[in-house]
Symmetry: C2
Subunit: 800 residues, 2 copies
């Protein structure tokens, strides 16, 4: 095992069990397993050393509407449970063993990232000196998206007899992994039917309560030596029993192979027959392990990012967890980017804007997955159009939080745990999510040259999102400018003006500038479409000359507020009070959730120049400085270097970093302006989940945007990589803290282009391919070279 790819959890604080459970999630982009919570009904199962697990899937939208408690993620039947006890020849049967049994002497958990394998070693020693070593090895198969497997090996020392093992499939699972949701009904499965056949295959079929999605899991349990002693069914599951002879120095093993199907799978068929058939014909665990590892090797090769030291180690963990949630198998599904991965139930599996931070990395390494995620949004254009229509507007108004149906699912109330008060939640006013989708679509096309997507679904996405901005912007005759009012920006601290009757703020700079960008890009794309397609879309979307003229006008005259030489986060921001940051920091130490602190004091963060996360500065994440300058130029504003630097400094001083995305974005912004502090923010982003910097949130699911974003930051950010129709543009920002790195990526017909960044030089290799076309590379906007397939070119980098 390559230790550089092993993540060892033995140094973790025992209090951080939920974090470890989340970080031990194994998945294949279609479904995943993670450790059960201590509160699980399977009370013998505790961290460290859980061998039961919940499976997660994000295919389901359980309840539509705006109630608190929409469920878009349900726990699937648990196939991993295994109970065991010792039956010594010379004494009575032992206890059913678990990780909190007093006889547990040693417990080690390690995750082999390279192979996608989770291993747990438990060692028990009872009062009679009888010892039992137990090794669990689990995989969720990366080659075969329907399959998972777990092998448990028993070694007896100092006694002989048998191990009695019970293999369980359990459909009596609930959504109960997030403490504050436990008041909600967590039961989402119904109509259970279970059985166990003579061939060693036990099965369970059920369906989700609201959406009626049928789910079936079939498990073939085999033991070596094979001594089945019976099986039984409960109302919601099945149990198979085995007795395994164990003697000094000889080991015995139980293998569970699980096949999981749902009625949403393609080809369509009966999930139960498919699962049983599949589970009945699985090869041996060893063969499964080998093909699973080989599939992971391929992913590591496609996703390659090498960086030295601890940072490199964490980046590998991040790529690993991105791939648990979004792998090449995902491209075949109708699923979006769940903000917390498949790793926990926080946000109920909802889709937010996190794909803005996830797609760039996927587009580089796994463009088919990126396309699949864009198609997920495209399939929900009708829902977004309906939302706009109901709001009296045109185009597509994408929801801030959504599940399967594509409708708005944002909660309308939220709890401040600090004050115990339920408060109105206006975060659905974050209309900027549409621009994030448009930006991703555009970048995907730039990078892949996927003309079919660009002229087809891509054009529909971009034009309908532009259509929404065209309708949402209102003309202010006094200012001779267009305005977008009553929204919330990425910074959720500001959802209203202090004392205002209605929620929302006006002219959020990020919203307005990105809306202008979307309108300009939509006009350019529309103008470049083949004539018949242009006419078709004009007819269907109602794009007459008046509308297009209005778009052009808005894209040049949207209002962007400034104050004191910096971009204002929104109109009136400059008039808000300054917060005494030092006082709050010293009083509360952790002020990431400054909003909750102030509310519990009877105050409101809306009164202050204080942001939860990057807002205006998000512009520096989306656009290179020169791009941003020209965007402002088009809007009739001058954004010189000094103004931008002052803006960065202003907001850096006034941000509490209440989102894991905050440090990521600040890292990007500083890297792009080659600021010396860049690495400090990058590091903070890197450790978001591994150190659970938000104190408990990782256990409810990893932060997928931050994880994928750090990969992208080191790749696109540090290399300053940008893909376009004319070739690749490279403008590196070497960080002394990352003296070297290497990664591969896809660009149009090319797969596996490799960049190596070393002190003072940068190499780019284009692999040989029968699709071979030479690659044009432009370094720092100056040197242009052509690299032929099969060749490598080295650039000398200017000293910083």
């Amino acid at each position: 095992m390559n230790t550089a790819f092993t993540w060892d959890f033995n140094g973790y604080d025992p209090e951080a069990e939920r974090t470890v459970e989340a970080l031990c999630t194994l998945g294949n982009g279609r479904f995943a397993t993670r450790g059960a919570a201590p509160e699980s009904p399977a009370d013998e199962v505790h961290y460290p050393g859980t061998y039961a697990a919940g499976c997660y899937d994000r295919l389901f939208s359980e309840v539509a509407g705006e109630r608190v408690g929409n469920e878009d993620m349900v726990n699937l039947p648990d196939w991993t449970r295994l109970r065991y006890r010792c039956l010594p020849d010379d004494g009575p049967a032992g206890n059913w063993l678990s990780a909190d049994d007093p006889s547990l002497r040693r417990h080690e958990v390690s995750l082999d990232l390279r192979g996608g394998v989770l291993t747990r070693h438990l060692f028990f020693r009872d009062g009679h000196g009888r010892r039992l070593g137990v090794t669990h090895t689990r995989l969720v198969h990366m080659g075969d998206p329907y399959l998972a497997a777990q092998r448990t090996t028993f070694h007896g020392h100092g006694w002989s007899g048998a191990v009695e093992a019970e293999s369980v499939i359990d459909g009596d699972v609930t959504n109960s992994g997030v403490e504050r949701y436990r008041g909600l009904d967590g039961r989402h499965l119904t109509d259970h039917r279970a059985g166990a056949g003579a061939d060693g295959v036990a099965w369970l079929s059920c369906r989700t309560r609201s959406s009626g999605t049928r789910i079936a899991v079939a498990v073939r349990t085999s033991s070596r030596p094979l001594v089945p002693v019976g099986s039984s069914c409960t109302g919601t599951g099945a149990v198979q029993r085995f007795r395994l002879p164990v003697s000094r120095g000889r080991s015995a093993a139980v293998v569970k192979c699980a096949a999981l199907y749902t009625s949403l799978d393609r080809p369509s068929g009966d999930p139960l027959s498919l699962a049983v058939e599949h589970a009945s014909h699985t090869p041996s665990f060893e063969v499964l392990l080998a093909s699973h590892r080989a599939a992971w090797e391929r992913l590591w090769s496609q996703g390659e990012l090498k960086a030295p030291g601890e940072a490199g180690h964490i980046l590998r963990l991040h790529l690993f967890h991105v791939l648990q949630t979004l792998s090449p198998h995902t491209a075949e599904l109708d699923v979006g980017v769940p903000a917390r991965g498949l790793h926990g139930e926080a946000y109920r599996g909802h889709v937010f804007w996190d794909e803005l931070f996830v797609l760039p990395c996927l587009t580089l390494h796994f463009p088919e997955v990126a396309r699949g995620l864009l198609m997920y949004r495209h399939r929900r254009l009708p829902a977004a159009r309906d939302a706009a229509r109901r709001a009296g507007l045109r185009g597509a108004m994408f929801p801030w939080q959504s599940g399967s149906s594509g409708a708005e699912e944002t909660q309308t109330l939220h709890l401040n745990p600090r004050s115990g008060r339920w408060l109105p939640d206006h975060s659905h006013l974050q209309r900027h999510v549409g621009s994030a989708i448009a930006w991703n679509a555009w970048r995907y096309v730039q990078s892949t040259g996927d003309t079919g997507f660009a002229q087809g679904p891509g054009a529909e996405l971009l034009l309908d999102i532009a259509g929404y901005w065209g309708a949402a912007a209102t003309y202010d005759a006094d200012r001779e400018r267009y305005r977008i009012r009553g929204v919330v920006g990425p910074d959720e601290y500001h959802d209203a003006y202090p004392g205002a009757a209605a929620p929302g703020i006006d002219d959020n700079a990020y919203t307005n500038v990105t809306a202008a960008w979307v309108l300009a890009r939509a006009l350019a794309l529309f103008g470049g479409l083949p004539e018949a397609r242009r006419r078709e879309l004009a007819e269907r979307l109602g794009l007459d000359d008046g509308t297009l003229g209005r778009w052009e006008d808005i894209s040049r005259r949207l209002y962007v507020p400034f104050h004191g030489g910096v971009i204002s986060q929104f109109e009136g921001y400059g008039e808000l009070a300054e917060l005494d940051w030092d006082a709050y920091r010293s009083r509360y130490r952790d002020i990431r959730r400054l909003d909750r602190i102030l509310e519990s004091e009877g105050d409101t963060v809306n009164r202050y120049q204080a942001s939860k996360q990057a807002d205006a500065l998000m512009l520096g994440y989306l656009f290179r400085p020169a791009e941003l300058r020209s965007l402002f130029d088009r809007l009739g504003y001058r954004l010189d270097d000094e103004t931008w630097r002052a803006t960065v400094a202003h907001y850096l001083d006034r941000t509490s970093h209440g989102s894991t995305l905050s440090s990521l974005v600040h890292g990007w912004v500083l890297a792009r302006q080659k600021g010396p502090d860049a690495w400090r923010y990058c590091e903070e982003a890197l450790i978001s989940d591994v150190a659970d910097v938000q104190g408990g949130t990782t256990g409810e699911g990893i932060h997928l945007g931050a994880m994928a974003g750090t990969l992208d930051l080191v790749e696109r950010g540090v290399a300053g990589l940008e893909a376009g129709p004319d070739g690749l543009r490279i403008d590196p920002t070497p960080l002394s803290e990352v003296p070297r790195c290497a990664f591969t990526f896809c660009y149009r017909g090319h797969r596996g282009i490799r960049v190596r960044l070393l002190p003072g030089r940068l190499g780019i290799r284009v692999p040989y391919s029968w699709q071979a076309a030479p690659l044009t590379v432009c370094l720092s906007g100056e040197r242009v070279v052509t690299v032929n397939a099969g060749e490598e070119h080295w650039f000398r980098l200017p000293a910083r």
Copy 2:
């Protein structure tokens, strides 16, 4: 209306009503409507002039297994029915009117291909001189895949009063369109629920009996002027009633807008709520018509093929019907190529090898649709692997006939209507279907440069199909050659040796040569994969050096039989008896189904050198003469020009053309060898359906392979167009019967490259695009030019 795009059915023989019904099918690649059969339970509905219609969908696999009567296509609820009668002010109510009412005076049906609109004009005149003109205008929306609409306009002349109209949704539909299947149970829908709301929306929900797929249709019926008089529900449908004031010179109209959803749609949701919501918010018929027409304009532009005269007119009809079945909407579905389109129930919607003739044309014009169809096959790789495993072999054994599950669904018995005998059916031994899939995948990659597909699903398809051939070929030490025994070739006349106990023939030349090609291509692709991907597939598919060495060996030493200077269709073919063709032709006139004739005479076609359709000559469809020569070279055989010409002549003389694909393939083969008879066969292929040359089969569904194949023949065939990584190769075969033609196509990043073939010259235009890359074109293997985006190049063609 552009008359060049209008298909007028008024000249058709009234006996050909079923043919017209099929040719009047309207669809959008997701669902379709066609005329109901005269035997329909809605007995007022007759051709000519049907206004009720069945909807077809091929999403469903009803019964698995090998019984006669598997249903993969079910009739969907009929939303189109409308009954009406006159209520004159000055007399009693008239009859409920239909096209067989004695008062019918005129009836015209025409199909506007350009706009995808079917129009029927009926004119009634009763004994009192009261006249009623009725115009039905129907569309199945090409922009919105869930929607269809029908407007019926009434003009009263010579009387005043009202028209009473009943708008029906009818779920009491059966599969009964094919007479010889009527003994089978044709009821596939159950659990009907229906209702009608006050808002004018009536709905019906049901599910398929075996697969449990939920289906819902909601219809909003509106009338102008609006006078609803009530609604009612039956067990399986809903009826809404309207009374429309009609007076001299003033018209009234009823519009039905239908939304159709199933539980297989994405996003997943409740089909009924989705259908009702969608139907409730449709725009006016006029607006729908405009956006529908605009969508069709785009398709005509992408699918452009201009040719003069009657041929050009039929080619447009063919493209129209290909797009009814396989449109850009199809790319989002999990569906294959049904042999008879969505136009009828023959073959029960099953998928055969017809995509071999359909994908080339789609790849040129609609590459995303081609990709979707290849992915349909990829999703069924597990089923094909299972089939090979059960046969004791490796790799993927694709079925000859299949439905949703991907399992073999070929009938095991078939009826000879001439003798009345049920006979064993061995056509499932047509293993060559796998090579057709591999060939399509390869050509798709060559044409699109879709590296992601090539290295991903494409590699899995090709390698697993090669794996099957590697396992199926057996070594014959006497001949020092590999053999593939016990198969059936494309010519279904030969399914056994005369008098043999077991079915199948040995060494079918087409099967063996294409298997060798697949093995060689798979080895080349495998060798060119990125290393990690190669290792992954080697592990998963068991591709060790031994296996690969065996593939290489087989690909060079498969046996190809010859006799008398020509390729033998299979081993021993040369020893079969010669048929007295003239005698049979004069005795039976139509000998297309020679097999049935001989069987009814107590003889068997297996005894004769007689083919139903192209078999060995299929090689000349798949490969250019030079490619074919080098394939034979690799196999250690010399295929000189003389041998090939002799082979062509031999089989042309001995083929009864019992398949619509036969003349198509012969047209290709002769065009490629620039034979003077090419056009005769092309013409035969062109009229297959419009003249229903098989006497009644078109009414059971059009022949999709032949329709798409003729488009491809005029495009790729006449232009000699071939796409590869180095650019386009053009080697035209101008036919004097098609003195000029023009078409557009896609090639890699380019959309809308336009070829114009005129007497003595050929022009190629590359449209301007922001993806602009110059295009390399090689004419007749000699002149190579580079055409820049935005430019056109003209070649002078050599005189023939």
